[in-house]
Symmetry: C2
Subunit: 212 residues, 2 copies
Amino acid sequence: MFELHDFSRSSAAYRVRIALAYKGVDHQRVGVDLVRGEQHEADFRSLNPQGLVPVYSDETLHLSQSLAILEYLEERYPQPPLLPASREGRARARQLASLVACDVHPLNGFRVHVYLRDALGVDMRRRRAWFLHWLAEGFDAIELWLAAQGNPPRFCVGDAVSLADVCLVPQVEVARRNGLDVDDYPRIAAIERACMALPAFRDTHPDVIGAP
Amino acid sequence: MFELHDFSRSSAAYRVRIALAYKGVDHQRVGVDLVRGEQHEADFRSLNPQGLVPVYSDETLHLSQSLAILEYLEERYPQPPLLPASREGRARARQLASLVACDVHPLNGFRVHVYLRDALGVDMRRRRAWFLHWLAEGFDAIELWLAAQGNPPRFCVGDAVSLADVCLVPQVEVARRNGLDVDDYPRIAAIERACMALPAFRDTHPDVIGAP
């Protein structure tokens, strides 16, 4: 049995929790309290020198980076799939997942807020504006890509959950927690509703997991 | 034949150029001059509402996000492979690719520098410190992950080029261009040397492509 090193309010870790729940994969969850700084402790640094969650670990493999963990889990536990059956569908799922994981989330991570505050002296109001700016840029782009697919699909790519939804929903959770009006993004809001009707998304939500 | 919408000095676009050259895939390159603002023109926005390169486009598929494009190309043109044969090797390649693409590159993109300068009034000296901070954090982590693999491999994962090298080398190019001493990172520097001995990396280098 492997371990998932996790923090409830890490949106990157929430992605992996969703995938594991969706696939029904048995594992051991290990909470790493980022607020208390447990990611800086030697034990955790030996697993991931970056001090970031999530981390997958078993006897022979330690793996960071949620996108890489998701692809690994997809290969190892292919059913039910989180990648569409068609090559174009897989490309679209990975594109939207990557849009969240590369263009939105990294700019709004905790370590970035700390740098803006401590090294650049950016006050809370302008840190919030920064946060909302990158979120809005990303969500605008996702809405347009979803619109380009014609009739609103149930999920990001067609009628089945994919890695795109697995990445999008945690980012929406962060957005809501920070006061963004997600109803300004009707396609994203509809996909979130469809996802949150599923236990895999609901039971792994930060509020359900509880801290850490 | 498909088009690659490209800008020579975009490190995300350089990744895709390397993969196409490595696999010997015939395509049409379309330069998008980010310095002249061509990414804001309506024609390009109709391909990618985010106004970012690279973009893959053919009759039926428009695809942004370099990681998604790389995975799509890997599925469509599997030889020579850019993903290792073993599941653990594939996981490691995707992890290191993602470390560059999610944790380093997004924080140092052009649009981030513009926001720091125009919205937050951060001067050039402190923008440069920002840039070098995230680069050093990422390269430190990559060095440690490479060291954890034991004897220095020739490339990021063993003795064959993978998506990890395809993402790492363009980031090293950016680092060098901005005055970082890459020799502080001996494993990264050695991998870069091994890659730059290959035509796929050398012939697609920004200086060789020329602007835009």
